[in-house]
């Protein structure tokens, strides 16, 4: 069977798809790709449905080889180099990893989470409807753990002669404030705290992982204490514990929690926040429901339009390619003994 074999990777490399929904009532975190835009682009490039399981690299890159056949691959999300046997692949471009060849993913130069998709996805069992790893509950991924050297990921489809495609456009790099909707517990904060939250610059601290991003900045003052009876948590909730330093809850969040939530990052901007690196600044802007829903709708249309945005790769051949190719099909050597008389 055709497979990708991991030669090396960072410690938090994992398999992720859209996530595990429908079980939050039992305490199951949805998980899923930190940057869904990146996941959808990588998948579109190899002809997959947008939420097919892919490898999520976290800051550090890695290397993998194709075994048992050729594999069509693509990389998107954080800005990382991709090279096959030392030859660079252009950004947002699918490439055929031939049997025995090695693909190398470089460190992220911008952003944190990069997605490597393979045509057809990976044949690993789903748990509760998803292949996303949730490390704390040892669910999904490969045997409930991150990927490591020598792991073998069976590919659900072979590389075949599919035309290589690329995406000409990168979603415009948007450095504007992350959009939030106030609530559900904005009444637990002083008006001053809300103003501070919306008008100040925060820094994503080194305490940032798939579960949550701890921010550092001015202290947000609670109006009536910070102990609430635990209630539900959604992705993007900005909770403020006693320290007054906000934490944005991300894909691996717990399903319930006991701190007041001042605001919620809108669904369409969570991918962008996920790619803000520790040590980098972040600002927030409050929007109304209308704008948030319009953004959700725009994101959905963008994902649906991805397959139509693909263009074929025009290969510019090297001298070696030209010499190796049979450029004048049909011509034969007159003295070839196999030529019929």
């Amino acid at each position: 069977m055709t497979a990708l074999v991991i030669k090396s990777c960072g410690p938090m490399t994992s398999l992720q798809d859209r996530g595990r929904y429908g079980y939050q009532r039992f305490g199951v975190s949805p998980s899923g790709a930190m940057d869904r835009r990146g996941l959808a682009m990588a998948n579109a490039l190899v002809g997959n449905a947008p939420w097919t399981v892919a490898i999520e690299f976290v800051h550090l890159g890695g290397a993998l080889t194709a075994s048992g056949g050729d594999v069509l691959i693509a990389l998107a999300g954080a800005d990382c180099s991709l090279a096959i046997d030392g030859k660079a692949v252009a950004p947002r471009t699918a490439a055929l990893l031939k049997e025995g060849q090695t693909a190398e993913v470089g460190h992220a130069r911008r952003g944190t989470f990069a997605y490597l998709a393979a045509a057809g996805g990976f044949a690993v069992p789903a748990s509760l409807g998803s292949r996303s790893l949730h490390l704390r509950s040892r669910m999904g991924g490969l045997d409930g753990r991150p990927l490591q050297a020598n792991d073998r990921l069976d590919c659900a489809a072979t590389g075949g002669p599919a035309p290589l495609m690329r995406l000409p456009d990168d979603p415009a790099p948007d450095d504007g404030p992350i959009r939030v909707m106030l609530g559900p517990q904005d009444d637990y904060f002083t008006p001053e705290a809300i103003r501070t939250f919306l008008e100040s610059e925060f820094t994503v601290s080194s305490q940032a992982d798939r579960m949550g991003f701890q921010l550092s900045g001015p202290v947000l003052e609670h109006a009536k204490g910070f102990n609430i009876v635990s209630d539900g948590i959604v992705e993007g909730h900005v909770q403020v514990p006693g320290s007054g330093q906000p934490i944005v809850l991300m894909r691996d969040r717990q399903t319930a929690g006991g701190y007041p939530k001042i605001a919620t990052v809108i669904g369409a901007d969570l991918d962008r926040l996920a790619q803000v690196r520790p040590g980098s600044p972040v600002r927030f802007r409050a929007v109304d429901r209308e704008e948030a829903v319009a953004a959700a709708r725009a994101f959905r249309s963008w994902v649906e339009a991805l397959p139509r945005a693909l263009v074929p790769v025009r290969l510019s051949p090297t001298t070696e390619d030209l010499l190796a190719a049979n450029l004048i099909g049909g011509a034969v050597h007159a003295l070839d003994p196999n030529v019929p008389e």
Partner: protein
């Protein structure tokens, strides 16, 4: 509602927005069986008669979190619908399911038992008697898959959380923190006190059902000796629920 003599005035539910694709129907801000009963009643009503656009619901102590598709559902319409639905509902007492959960108290399985008993000026045996003598209500599942938050702890056992949380407690830990009690499902960090351990897996991905307990169920603890633990642990390992369903 004579069954609920909590003294908490019933407040009208309110809708709290949670970003563009979720909202919380809040019935109160306390740990109270009537408030939780209203949460579970709305949850049950929505499961019986789903509203279009709702993706999943998550009952908690005091509110029902409703995830919806922001493109398919209109927030104002959905809110109106949920409020009118909530209005006419009688609080759900319990789900009608009661589980007998075997527990080995103290020793290596409950390393904080003696200290907690001493703190309350009672013998470990008395503590076990009080802890296993109560009927607990599962208010919600959360934090970790299958982790059950319980109400019903004898007030004489209420114990502030540990100053230094532990990075890891074993699966099946029977724990208390403040006025709350819980059954931990899988290994997890915790600042609560460990009284004992059960072989029951409230979450077992290899078993059907994967999750044993639901919010609204009741739990009674049955003290068992360490020798019984091995047999129960083997049975649980083989996929048996081990927890017995008993009539309330």
């Amino acid at each position: 509602m004579k069954a609920f003599c909590s003294g908490t005035p019933v407040q009208a539910p309110r809708i709290l927005p949670c970003g563009d694709s979720a909202l919380s129907v809040e019935f109160g801000d306390t740990i109270d069986p009537e408030v939780n009963g209203r949460v579970l009643a709305l949850d049950e009503a929505l499961r019986r008669k789903p509203l279009p656009g709702i993706l999943e619901t998550v009952p908690t102590y005091r509110s029902l979190l409703v995830h919806f598709d922001p493109v398919a559902a209109d927030f104002a319409e959905l809110s109106q619908h949920l409020l009118s639905e909530a209005e006419g509902l009688a609080p759900q007492a319990t789900s009608g399911r009661r589980w007998k959960v075997p527990v080995v108290y103290g020793g290596p399985n409950g390393i904080d038992l003696e200290e907690v008993a001493e703190r309350h000026g009672m013998s470990p045996a008395r503590l076990i008697e009080l802890h296993s003598g109560a009927v607990y209500r599962i208010y919600m599942l959360g934090f970790m898959p299958g982790f059950a938050y319980l109400g019903g702890l004898d007030p004489r056992l209420a114990t502030p959380r540990r100053v230094h949380p532990r990075a890891r407690i074993p699966s099946g830990s029977i724990i208390i923190g403040g006025a709350q009690a819980a059954v931990a499902s899988i290994e997890c960090p915790s600042g609560w006190h460990l009284l004992g351990r059960t072989p029951v897996r409230s979450y077992d991905p290899g078993r059907e059902p994967v999750f044993l307990f639901s919010a609204g169920d009741e739990i009674v603890f049955e003290p068992v000796g360490p020798s019984r633990w091995d047999a129960l642990e083997r049975a649980a390992e083989a996929g048996e629920p081990v927890a017995e369903q008993v009539t309330p």
